[in-house]
Amino acid sequence: MSIRDDERLLRRVHIALLVRDDDTGLARVSSGVFKDRELSVHIESVLKEIGRSAESCLQNCNTLKLVSITAGNARQFNQAVCRKPIPNDPSHGLVYGSKNNPKIQNGLRAAAIWVIPNTAPLYADIETEKRILGI
């Protein structure tokens, strides 16, 4: 079954990958989130089919946040999107393709929207979390 362009692909983000935007005071996702040639994601529609929530993607881990891009965003940057179910995760998919070009990494980063939390957090709050975790 093909994956529609508007399909949301969820990606976990460790707080070490959140950086400060000095212009807004908010945390932003580093382009480093989008460097993997085979970028693992959760396909949101499959999550819903199996009755799982977006929160379940975080594996109860307090160092992780969640962002999404669409399959159309990925294809815009010459990436392929495919289903790749793994044991215990039918929603697993891949955004596959070379991401060596920083324009691709930053393009995907700019397209990413916050899921958990649902808006960009203040970087001061992320800094506090990092300090507590010793990162």
Binding site: R12, H14, D21, S30, S31, K35, G134
Partner: protein, 182 residues
């Protein structure tokens, strides 16, 4: 031009828990004063001893100005923080950060940063590399130290539309981009 030269090396094992930097972990060694004008031009050395995973990491900062640049402490603290990340830290199989990249990136910063340069965000990469980032004044500058490749940079100015990318070998250019962002 940069006012610091940075040197990093692991030292004897010691038994302290890894934690974020505090002022108690800094020590300063000053040259003995001498009756000569050479004393006023001789560089001052600062040694930062950072406990990390049961070992003492020693970072030697050589200054040619009177004051420690404000970016040094937070940058060293951030680098030490990402050093503590274990295998699979990102839940997608990310590797531990390669230890030689700490000295490489610090030394590189010593070449391009001024005393007033803003401290970078320090980001671990999934391949075991490290990335330094600045996002301010509608400009983005990233310097990536991949685990198995040469350092690369990316710059964009959202106001003018100017973009640059490529090898980070042109330190003069990077120093200028940093002055634009500062």
């Amino acid at each position: 031009m940069a006012a610091v030269a940075l040197e990093y090396s692991p030292t004897q094992p010691m038994y302290r828990p890894s934690k974020a930097l505090t002022d108690n972990q800094f020590e300063s060694r000053r040259e003995t004063s001498v009756a000569s004008s050479a004393a006023f031009t001789k560089p001052r050395e600062l040694a930062f001893v950072i406990p990390s995973e049961g070992r003492a990491q020693r970072i030697l900062v050589t200054l040619t100005t009177d004051q420690l640049p404000t970016w040094v402490k937070p940058t060293i603290s951030a680098i030490m923080g990402v050093q503590t990340l274990p295998e699979n830290w990102d839940s997608y199989g990310a590797k531990k950060i390669k230890s030689d990249l700490f000295s490489q990136s610090l030394s590189f910063l010593g070449l391009i940063m001024d005393t007033t340069s803003p401290a970078p965000s320090v980001v671990p990469l999934g391949d075991g590399g490290l990335q330094l980032e600045w996002h301010r004044k509608q400009q983005d500058l990233e310097i990536a130290f991949p685990a198995d490749d040469t350092p690369q940079f990316f710059y964009q100015n959202k106001t003018t539309g100017v973009e640059q990318e490529g090898s980070a070998s042109d330190v003069a250019n990077l120093a200028q981009l940093l002055r634009n962002i500062a």
